[in-house]
């Protein structure tokens, strides 16, 4: 009863690069100055914080006077950018010292900025940036696939207010995000021993199929063969890299 005083911690959403980069609309849910800022995920969720695991391929100090580090994090569907300056000292020193490529995990806040051409870009402001193992990276891909599918399956529910919001902002074509899930899953190596999962989710049943499913299915099925991840990735295969130092 008395637990409502402290604001509860925001969950870290799981989304692939394709979707994070498309989450260009931000909003607040109250007028309070300190009210959290949310990015709106196109599959219908608010994201004040995200958890991304990918390959850090490049780091660069893009600051003029003070150090301001940029990092490119690649997942099977695209690239997200992280920026860390003096207010994120741990992440900044990590980006300064880390040897790329390396598998990294980022806990961060999505931020948007406008480019000179008037486009809105999304980047992450890291709370943490650390090296992780390849196993952790693969697990993140499957977990993010699950969470994304969860959102897609709930997209048409009338009570889903963030899906409504997403529909208004971005339209209702969420096919690309379903496609991203497929691309990501197909990029994984064959599971060595799938039964050793400590956790199995009932993933095959209970998925509501909508009337339009057949149509979107055939459309994206064509796209499936030709969809290539972001060109930055060309021929990128996570297996070529050794894992980080830990």
């Amino acid at each position: 009863m008395s637990q409502n005083n402290a604001p509860s911690r925001e969950v870290a959403q799981r989304a692939f690069a394709t979707e994070i980069n498309a989450a260009t609309h931000t909003f607040r849910e109250s007028d309070d100055d300190r009210a959290p800022v949310y990015g709106l995920l196109p599959t219908g969720a608010k994201a004040n914080r995200v958890f991304v695991v990918g390959t850090l391929t490049e780091t660069q100090d893009v600051g003029s006077d003070d150090e301001y580090w940029q990092g490119r994090i690649v997942d099977p569907t695209g690239t997200v950018f992280v920026y860390a300056g003096q207010y994120q000292p741990e992440a900044a020193s990590m980006l300064r010292e880390i040897e790329t490529p390396a598998f990294v995990a980022i806990v961060g806040k999505p931020r948007t900025f406008e480019t000179d051409d008037g486009d809105t870009n999304v980047s992450l402001r890291p709370e943490h940036l650390i090296t992780v193992t390849e196993g952790t990276r693969h697990r993140w891909v499957t977990e993010t696939a699950q969470r994304t599918l969860d959102r897609i399956e709930q997209f048409d529910e009338t009570t889903n207010e963030y899906a409504q919001l997403a529909r208004n902002q971005y339209g209702d074509d969420i096919g690309p995000y379903r496609q991203a899930v497929i691309t990501a899953l197909e990029s994984l190596p064959e599971p060595a021993d799938a039964t050793s999962n400590t956790h199995t989710e009932d993933s095959s049943s209970g998925s509501p199929t909508t009337d339009t499913s057949e149509e979107t299915d055939s459309v994206t099925r064509e796209g499936e063969t030709q969809t290539q991840p972001d060109d930055d990735l060309g021929g990128f295969s996570p297996d070529e890299f050794t894992t980080g130092d830990q």
């Binding site: 943490h128 650390i130 952790t136 969470r147 599918l149 021993d193 400590t198 199995t200």
Partner: protein, 310 residues
């Protein structure tokens, strides 16, 4: 208010009063009518007034009343100052640290366990470990997010012949460890017996300046993308999680003349990893008893089927 209603309420009140009150239902109804009809006292208040009048006259404490408490499962107790009835097995008796306490220990039912305290002044029969009791009229209490029940003078204790399979309220949480909170790493605790408070700048909030005993712990956040669970690793599970022993941590801190290096080490080792953690939930925290790192991915096969079927 009509008479039949008042009559019913009067009878209710009459039944609630001890025999010693020696008052008729009619007499109560009369008082009730005066209060409610003549003096516009709300019915509930009128009821309370009458009850307390007769209790005062008979010198009985209203707490000795058989209340209509809810009989609850132990894991549903989540509010302090509630009068409840429970049925539980005495799992464990602890050494009372205080003369005011007659017995203290752990009660358990199928749903979980809870601490109990029995005061010396309550003058209640002795409880025996392993026996199952129905305890009527116990009061719930809360301290730092942990709930307990207190037995009191009015508690009715009945031993039952049945046995109870005590459930462990172990919860399993799985997810990525995405944050480490302040107060993690090498800490110092107040050396006073019974006080395990963490020292802040060499001071215990209760006992003041103290040398302190070193301890290792991690307060962290586990997040699975849909829910957030705060967790605490004690010394043993911290050692298990990080491979850093308390001794090594002390050495590290001594060499660096700074305890924060230990927290940095821990951060580097555990942040961003997936874990399955097991332990009881106390308040906001899951107290970790078992740690397992999850580095295996979920089987992509069924997920692909699911994605393609949408």
């Amino acid at each position: 208010m009509n008479d039949t209603k008042l009559h019913d309420h009067a009878q209710d009140i009459h039944e609630e009063l001890p025999d010693a009150a020696d008052v008729s239902s009619d007499e109560i109804q009369q008082r009730l009518t005066t209060l409610v009809d003549d003096y516009q006292v709300p019915l509930e208040e009128a009821r309370r007034t009458i009850l307390s009048t007769y209790f005062n006259e008979t010198d009985t404490d209203s707490e000795t009343l058989d209340r209509d408490n809810e009989h609850v499962d132990l894991n549903t107790i989540n509010e302090a100052e509630q009068w409840v009835d429970i049925t539980a097995k005495l799992v464990d008796l602890w050494e009372p640290q205080n003369d005011a306490i007659a017995q203290v220990g752990l009660l358990g039912d199928e749903t979980g366990t809870i601490k109990f305290t029995k005061w010396a002044k309550s003058d209640l029969p002795k409880l025996t470990e392993g026996h199952v009791y129905t305890l009527e009229n116990v009061v719930t209490d809360e301290y730092q997010g942990q709930y307990s029940v207190k037995l009191n003078r009015t508690t009715n204790i009945q031993q039952l012949e049945q046995t109870i399979e005590v459930g462990d309220n172990t919860t399993t949480a799985e997810g990525a460890l995405i944050d480490i909170q302040t107060g993690s790493g090498l800490i110092k605790r107040c050396p006073n017996p019974d006080c395990t408070r963490v020292l802040q700048n060499g001071r215990c909030s209760e006992h003041g300046e103290a040398e302190g005993d070193f301890d290792l712990r991690i307060k962290a956040v586990l997040d699975d993308g849909t829910t957030v669970q705060e967790v605490i690793f004690d010394q043993e599970t911290t050692e298990q999680l990080t491979g850093i022993t308390l001794q090594q941590a002390q050495q590290r801190a001594m060499d660096a003349l700074d305890t924060s290096v230990v927290t940095d080490d821990i951060r580097e080792l555990v942040l961003g990893n997936y874990y399955q953690l097991k332990g009881p939930i106390l308040g906001r925290y899951l107290l970790v008893n078992e740690v397992e790192q999850c580095e295996t991915m979920h089987d992509p096969g069924p997920l692909l089927v699911r994605a393609r079927s949408l």
